[in-house]
């Protein structure tokens, strides 16, 4: 038994790929059309399919733009044209029971779909908008935000 463990440990330690992904990305861009940008710290990046999304990113679509994003827990955000979404906070560490989704729908049109966090810890999800916050019970909804 010990020999098997040692053998496996050796294998794990020698593995060229990460055993635990150290990367703390929140999700990735799944579908993108037209002009879509991601503001990260002071950079403004052009969104592309497969691009990783991190907490604090601000995603903005142009007049002809739309984008679909899937987060690590399978939460899905889709944005129509002239829309802006700020992913303020994202934590998904199921083995430690820590979860948080805090996003702000700044303006535009959105479709939101709950993922695992919606099942495991619905109170950890908070969606803000300029006219109120939304509490979600495991579901999908659409929002149109024009402001005040």
């Amino acid at each position: 038994m010990h020999r098997i463990v040692s053998f496996l440990l050796l294998f794990v330690l020698a593995a060229p790929w990460p055993v635990f992904a150290a990367d703390d990305f929140a999700g990735s861009v799944k579908n993108v059309q037209g002009s879509v940008s991601v503001k990260r710290q002071k950079m403004e990046l052009k969104a592309a399919r497969g691009m990783k999304i991190y907490a604090h990113d601000v995603i903005t679509t142009g007049k002809d733009g739309s984008v679909g994003i899937i987060l690590r827990d399978n939460t899905v955000f889709s944005l129509g044209p002239e829309s802006e979404l700020e992913l303020k906070e994202y934590v998904f560490v199921p083995d430690q029971g820590s979860f948080a989704v805090l996003a702000r729908m700044v303006r535009g049109t959105f479709v939101y779909m709950s993922g695992l966090i919606g099942k495991l810890s619905p109170d950890s999800i908070k969606i803000e908008t300029p006219v109120g916050t939304i509490a979600i019970r495991g579901t999908r909804f659409a929002a149109k935000i024009a402001g005040n």
Partner: protein, 200 residues
């Protein structure tokens, strides 16, 4: 009488268009399995709940109370949210592969699942695949963590060997910390000896 016949449909039409013409609105939709939960829109002035498909909450501004507005039908939902709905990604697909006891060898039935997994990765042109290893509670925690890692790596290798780009695969493992079927410690449970493959 004739007047009523005309007025009533007009009123209905007016009510139905009311929500889609709102400045700010939230519409509850069914998920891909047709299931519906609920949303509650809350601000300083009050709150309002939607819990049926198409139900709508409208908010005139941050100083206005959220209010229930007439439900939207499918055509109105499609018209109002056309672009966001068209770009909406499919829900990620999840597959479970099972393993022989104290081993990182797939069960025969699970081996046959590799083909549908590859097909799903290709069909959705996924760039984000998670491979997550688990064990049952037979054996020590440390041993099981190593075993679950090896199981996940085995599945990763099988996928890469069949043409999946290793860059898109993220491997992780939970050992016996995330049981599918809850059991006491030191229990052999075939359903817990698994690797989950999530295709986003």
């Amino acid at each position: 009488m004739k007047g009523i016949v005309i007025i009533v449909p007009c009123l209905v039409l007016l009510l139905l268009t009311a929500c889609s013409s709102q400045k700010n609105m939230f519409v509850l939709l069914p998920d891909q399995d047709g299931k519906v939960g609920s949303i509650e829109v809350i601000n300083d002035k009050g709150s309002s709940v939607a819990n049926k498909p198409g139900e709508c909450v409208s908010v005139a501004g941050s100083n206005s109370k959220p209010q229930a507005a007439p439900a939207l039908n499918d055509a109105q939902v499609r018209a109002t949210f056309a672009e966001a709905l068209a770009i909406e990604p499919l829900q990620p697909q999840s597959f479970l592969l099972y393993f022989k006891t104290d081993s990182f060898e797939l069960t025969n039935g699970s081996f046959e699942l590799l083909q549908p997994i590859l097909a799903a990765i290709n069909k959705t042109q996924s760039t984000d695949v998670s491979v997550i290893g688990h064990t049952d509670t037979a054996g020590s925690k440390e041993y099981n963590f190593t075993l679950s890692t090896k199981r996940a790596q085995t599945v990763r290798d099988l996928l890469v060997k069949r043409g999946v780009d290793p860059v898109i695969i993220e491997v992780s493992s939970y050992g016996e910390a995330d049981l599918l079927v809850p059991t006491a410690d030191n229990v052999k449970e075939p359903k817990n000896r698994r690797v989950e493959v999530i295709i986003r």
